[in-house]
């Protein structure tokens, strides 16, 4: 018997919702995925909209378990909540089963996790309170430069002489960027410099963990090709120092890793509890 579960991942910048058909083995299917930017709206309204869209998209008539993750601890209709590390680990395994580490680059922080083949987190490191390791920082820089989110990756990859940016502090880095603009440095070179600075921090996080397998990049920056290229280069530089190469993988649905993981763990939990019942049912199905 299959279990239908929903995962709701509330991040600092966006709400992601998935609906999954899980069967207790490995044959899980994603029935719906919705990502909705918050953009200064009330978070719970965005959650409601995104959840409803995902229900419509999936066409299901009932949900057995609604699992939340991220900052979604207050969602009133949730069945249960899972911590972000736990869900990103499981989501990474679903999207790239060979991965043994996860780099979750969110809007406000970045986490590196070492995971095992069952999705259990064996170790982790986080960027501290400094925002220069976060997606929000990159977005701010792009906004100063008049570049859209979608353009960042391709522009960065077109850089010819990347400019070095402070990798310690977001405030210093933003000052660096203002100086670069006044010195006439090209937008591409500035963006690649920013990417390199962030990648250097991420590589340091990953290097402090013990794992044997590819690194899966999740979160909003997983779709930034410039960021991925910078990370691969940074890890290659580290490999020349310690002799340990670390492959970087990602997936088109990497932004949904948390929501996927929440839904999968929700399904697992539903079967483990064995209590039956549903968390949501369409009116027509009830009738």
């Amino acid at each position: 018997m299959t279990t239908i579960s929903a995962g709701i991942d509330v991040g600092s910048g966006a709400v992601k919702v998935t609906v999954m058909d899980t069967d207790g083995a490995d044959d899980h299917r994603m029935l719906a995925k919705v990502s909705e930017r918050i953009r200064r709206r009330e978070v719970m309204k965005v959650v409601d909209e995104a959840y409803q869209s995902a229900l419509d998209q999936s066409g299901v008539e009932l949900i057995h378990y609604i699992a939340t993750t991220g900052e979604a601890g207050e969602v009133p209709f949730a069945t249960g909540h899972f911590y972000g590390m736990t869900t990103h680990a499981r989501g990474a395994l679903y999207l790239a089963p060979e991965s043994r580490a996860v780099l979750d680059v969110g809007a406000l922080h970045t986490r590196a996790l070492a995971i095992d083949a069952h999705g259990r987190v064996t170790d982790y490191k986080m960027t501290s309170q400094c925002a220069s390791g976060s997606g929000q920082f990159l977005e701010n820089i792009a906004r100063y430069l008049g570049v859209s989110h979608e353009e960042i990756g391709s522009l960065s990859q077109a850089a010819t002489q990347p400019e070095k940016v402070s990798s310690i502090c977001a405030v210093l880095a933003e000052t660096d960027v203002i100086n670069m603009v006044s010195r006439g440095i090209t937008t591409a070179d500035i963006l690649r410099g920013v990417h390199d600075s962030m990648a250097e921090r991420f590589a340091r996080l990953l290097r402090s963990l013990e794992f044997d397998g590819p690194v899966f990049v999740s979160g909003g920056l997983a779709s930034d090709a410039g960021m991925l290229a910078a990370l691969r280069d940074a890890l290659e530089r580290k490999a020349s120092q310690d002799g340990r190469s670390r492959e970087v993988v990602t997936h088109a649905d990497a932004i949904f890793a948390g929501a996927i993981g929440a839904a999968l763990w929700g399904g697992f939990r539903y079967r483990k509890l064995g209590q039956g019942g549903v968390a949501w049912q369409a009116r027509a199905a009830v009738a």
Partner: protein
């Protein structure tokens, strides 16, 4: 109604000027206010001698410590510094007496400081029996209580007779019954009674008359009964170690928001230290002494000679509460809690109970690390462990 009661409790919890006690004194000419520190003092005695018992639980995360640090070294817990700060800033100047229970050496030393700093205030260090012979223990403690009554009566001018003592005991039996009802309701339906609210009620009960507290608890229980919530798939945990210096409210909220139902704890333990009703028959002081000696509360401030019994404690508490794991949340530099913790944890883990431990101080302001630990712990209980103890 529930929101109004919680707001009432929150206002009292946040009020570091003890306005409620001052108002009570203004409304009761001739009345006195008697303070006490954690963990346990017999509040009935204060009440019977004409005092409003006032719990002194430090300044939490709402008080800047300026003078308090001058009195204690850096390796001493935070509670006594903030208590000194409260006193030195005049916030405790309405107290005519302050009782210091035998919680630890730090509290004992604080009683000495109080005597030197405030010679006009009645100060007593309350010695409690720690011997295995119950008859000798009751005799000793009864004599201590009798001396306490005499001393407090000299301050207030009100010497209670046995009937007055019985009335006070009955009142506090009712207060403890109300607290037990809160704990029972939370254990059965933690989704209806968040620990954040329970804790606020307990703290409010430390500064208002027992009658007012009991009324509010009854109204609160009726309100949650009338508006049942929806259970969530959270992990059930025991939080232990916080019997003296109280955790910041943010820490309790962090544990709950991380996906845990707290189903047993030792917050404000002194208010429910006596686990059963104190007898109203015979000598009231002897009954109170016997209740203390025979109490089932087992905590680090009472001597436990049977090591196996101590090792079994967390498993027994978890089993009674239907908990799946134990969170040792201990104030930094709390000797009683931290000295017991290895044995308690070893016993819990030997019984198959997953545990985590972290340290806090009452003014801790950053909760991210607690959320991470509690969140991953809650997940590990749900995903990788067998089920309730």
């Amino acid at each position: 109604m529930r929101t109004a009661i919680v707001d009432w409790a929150r206002d009292l919890y946040e009020d570091l000027d003890f306005t409620a006690a001052r108002r009570w004194l203004a409304d009761h000419p001739g009345g006195r206010a008697g303070g006490y520190l954690p963990v346990y003092v017999p509040r009935e005695i204060l009440h019977a001698c004409g005092f409003l018992p006032v719990g002194i639980h430090g300044g939490g995360d709402r008080l800047e410590i300026i003078r308090g640090d001058a009195f204690y070294q850096s390796y001493i817990c935070h509670l006594p510094r903030s208590v000194i700060e409260l006193a030195q800033s005049g916030r405790l100047d309405m107290l005519s007496a302050v009782l210091f229970p035998s919680t630890c050496d730090v509290i004992r030393n604080l009683s000495g400081m109080w005597k030197l700093l405030y010679p006009d205030v009645y100060v007593r260090y309350i010695d409690v029996p720690q011997v295995p012979d119950p008859a000798a223990a009751v005799d000793f403690y009864e004599s201590e209580l009798r001396q306490l009554v005499t001393d407090l009566a000299a301050v207030s001018g009100l010497m209670p007779d046995d009937d007055a003592l019985r009335r006070s005991i009955a009142l506090y039996n009712g207060k403890r019954r109300a607290i037990r009802a809160l704990y029972a309701a939370r254990q059965a339906r933690p989704w209806d009674l968040p620990t954040e609210e329970l804790y606020l009620l307990l703290r409010a009960g430390e500064v208002v008359p027992a009658e007012e507290f009991v009324t509010q608890v009854e109204r609160y229980l009726a309100a949650i009964e009338a508006d049942p919530g929806r259970p969530r798939d959270n992990s059930r945990v025991v939080v232990t170690g916080a019997f003296c210096e109280q955790p910041p409210l943010g820490l309790i909220k962090s544990i709950e928001r991380a996906g845990c139902y707290v189903v047993d704890d030792d917050f404000v333990l002194g208010a429910r230290f006596l686990t059963g009703a104190v007898s109203l028959d015979g000598s009231p002081l002897r009954a109170l002494a016997r209740a203390f000696v025979e109490t089932e509360t087992r905590t680090s401030v009472l001597y436990e000679g049977d090591l196996q019994r101590k090792r079994d404690l967390m498993h027994e508490r978890a089993a009674a509460a239907g908990a799946e794991g134990v969170i040792f949340a201990t104030p930094s530099f709390c000797d009683p809690a931290l000295l017991d913790q290895p044995m308690l944890r070893k016993g819990a883990e030997a019984a198959g109970l997953p545990c985590i431990a972290f340290k806090y101080s009452e003014n801790t302001g950053q909760f991210q690390q607690f959320r991470e630990q509690a969140g991953t712990f809650a997940d590990s209980l749900k995903l990788w462990s067998g089920g309730p103890a």
